[in-house]
Symmetry: C2
Subunit: 458 residues, 2 copies
């Protein structure tokens, strides 16, 4: 394959690639909010139409939730068959008032140093990353007239909302998804100049807990000191989840959590990341988790419990002296090693139930969960990927862990027996899930080139 | 004065009285929300115009916040001069979805037993109660051709939002407010059939606390276990405010809290109110406050700390794995005896500051505060009021405490040297500050009659 011509094509087609990404970013595909259901379908249809232009047999598959885009090529049989996975849904945009511009009006912003970034909800997570792979395929097809490998592309619309439709879809489409390897583009670089392959992902659990007391909101003057206050009950439950040393207190929580082997730890230490540097980018300085661990250990190899949302009573301007009828918390756990999500969910529920006093009830809604992932270090695919990334970025490829979760990667392994190659071009400062999310134009451009090199090398 | 004719006039004019109350209830005078500023003024103007029809010199006085209605009569000089105080502002209506009908579209609803109630925000707190006094004056004026006593009516528009304008107004209007006694109609009956005079009110403090950590919202996968989570910090602060026995833990909090004298306690016990009965009306059964105290002791004579609002991170449908940049709590205290609001505010701030870890800041906004009130048991006005209430309701008048706060009653005593006669016709089940607030039609009707009797007896 003529890799120079392919890379040249990527470069000259970049503006058109960007236009295509913008069309995708304009659709507000917020999967967790039912108000955007139609937009999610519109995004899937848009992607399927685009993939069809590459000669893929692209379909929008209905599920019990948001549809899944499934596109298949014929491709040469003498090369590996790749399943590419990404997601087209995005996180909610609140607080909207903190966005400098409309989250769904994508734009290219220029920094003082001349470097550029794509600003929009989903720019980095995951629409921009998905399009690096799609545009790489497009460039190869344009130059070579055909796709380099047999490829199946699966784009789901529920990654940000617990993927409730996936079990059903896997059961139904298991044979169609079978390939030699899964490629996923939903992770990050080590730093602005250093590409990375992600070797581990933390698992996760997300739960909404609701505590109810009186059958109505009460006046805190008339009833204060007599009626149970669900806000205080929720606060006590949340406050008891960590001990003073930052460890999670649930019984059995650390079952399956293993110390990182010394070689990997030394490898991480050699990356030279300090807590001050890691936290400094977001205005913090001191690690808040378990004491006595390095910052990379904390975010890559240690499990956590975080309160992602807390609400009860009046939170508007001014004051309202109310004892609310109910209060709520959204709690998530990040898992490592062989921690068992089901056991931890039960431990959390048992703990919360025990903390709930007379006259109160507690109810749970789990939104999705998945255990941690470890890519086998001796997988041959890793060597090829390491090499082409190093060529594109002109520096060694970092083998890293990631604190986030991509539960489907676990399903690919357990249900389909496939390992996943986790390559992505996100940066620490991408403001993923936050206002003013961005994706560096360099990430987008060299991301496309990186996939083109890898696809050509297979 | 011809009391029978006056009471007859009240009865025959009831429908018109109700129409006038409805006009007042239709205006959404939510004082704590700036969106309703114009409505607050409109309410004041409406009331001033109505009071002018009684021959009062009625004015809408501007303040630094919402205006105050001040109306004065000439009246006979040989009788006591009464200052009537009430408030025309109401609480916010959220959660709006729990209202059966528009909170500002007042209606009369009939119970299966044929009894009726007025449903609207402000029906009981305080528009309905204010109008019992106004309609009593109107009936006397209609029958006698003149008002029974010299009366000054002061209606404020910030009672539900900490009365920020009151200090300035008191300084300005001190001489105009001077009277022989203050009458306030913002309290309740003992039960559906038994009138009450309130002898004590708890004081209060309201504070909004905001804890900030990172300079943006963070992804709990990438940063979880490393970055400080303000939700957890707020939860720990709130959870530490009470010990296991329900006592407030702030140092010095119980300074100035005295045990109720045995005679009053015996009097309360004789009312026969059980915890089950008190809490049963709102779906609860067990007192949540300090252990080893009767239910009336808890709500009338013991101080409290309540979390009235708690918010941070994502609280919408579904889930968002965010570590928020900030979290907030709205905390109030109810005070008794000679507890000093200023000292308790400082103790709370000091406690919270101590609980805030590295990388976090905490900020406070106080919305208003006032100490507790005790009416002198030997005040002659009490005897007269006890007698006429007993005549109207055909049963003994209960001398009670109230867990709520009316800070201005303290100012009337300390700034103007006046004691307050606290009579009201609210019921436990009025859903004050809650969705579907109501005021029994019987409360409204016999409330007007009760004031008419008292005014005639002075």
């Amino acid at each position: 394959m003529d890799i120079d011509s392919i890379l040249n094509r990527v470069d000259t087609d970049l503006d058109a690639s960007l236009d295509r990404l913008f069309e995708l970013l304009k659709i507000p595909s917020i999967s967790t909010d039912p108000a955007y259901t139609a937009d999610c379908r519109r995004t899937a249809e848009h992607l399927a139409a685009d993939l069809a232009t590459l000669g893929l047999h692209a379909e929008v598959r209905n599920t019990i939730g948001h549809p899944i885009v499934l596109a298949k090529s014929d491709g040469p049989d003498n090369r590996p068959h790749i399943l590419f996975y990404g997601h087209y849904d995005v996180q909610p945009v609140d607080p909207l008032e903190l966005w400098e511009t409309d989250p769904f009006a994508p734009r290219v912003a220029e920094r003082p140093d001349g470097s550029k970034m794509i600003v929009a909800r989903g720019a980095a997570d995951d629409k921009g990353q998905v399009m690096t792979f799609v545009e790489a395929l497009r460039a190869i097809k344009a130059v070579e007239g055909e796709l380099p490998v047999k490829v199946t592309i699966m784009l789901e619309g529920e990654e940000e909302s617990g993927s409730p439709s996936l079990p059903g879809f896997f059961a139904e489409a298991k044979d169609e998804l079978q390939a030699d390897a899964v490629f996923v583009c939903d992770t990050g670089m080590w730093d602005r100049d250093t590409p990375a392959i992600t070797m581990s992902l933390r698992g996760n659990i997300t739960i909404t807990m609701t505590v109810r007391a009186a059958d109505r909101d009460l006046h805190s003057g008339y009833f204060g000191g007599a009626a149970r206050n669900p806000n205080s009950v929720v606060a006590k439950i949340l406050a008891g989840l960590h001990d003073d040393a930052g460890r999670v207190t649930l019984p059995g929580f650390y079952d399956g959590v293993h110390e990182v082997d010394p070689r990997t730890l030394a490898n991480w230490d050699s990356l030279g990341m300090t807590a001050g540097e890691f936290l400094g980018t977001v205005g913090l300085s001191k690690p808040a988790g378990e004491e006595g661990r390095s910052i990379l250990e904390l975010v890559w190899s240690r499990p956590t419990c975080e309160v992602n949302g807390m609400s009860g009573g009046y939170s508007g301007a001014g004051f309202k002296t109310v004892i609310p009828a109910e209060a709520q918390a959204k709690v998530s756990f990040r898992l490592v090693g062989t921690q068992d999500p089901a056991k931890i969910i039960e431990a959390f529920k048992a703990y919360a139930r025990e903390m709930v006093p007379a006259d109160c009830s507690v109810e749970f809604e789990t939104h999705g969960s998945g255990p941690a992932i470890q890519v086998p270090a001796d997988w041959p695919m890793l060597k090829t990927a390491q090499k082409v990334l190093a060529e594109e970025w002109q520096t060694q490829t970092a083998m890293i862990g990631v604190g986030g979760s991509i539960p489907i990667v676990h399903d690919f392994k357990t249900v389909l027996g496939m390992d996943a190659l986790l390559i992505g071009f996100g940066l620490e400062d991408d403001r993923v899930h936050s206002p003013n999310e961005k994706y560096d134009l360099k990430s987008f451009h060299k991301g496309i080139r990186s996939w083109a090199r890898l696809l050509a090398a297979l």
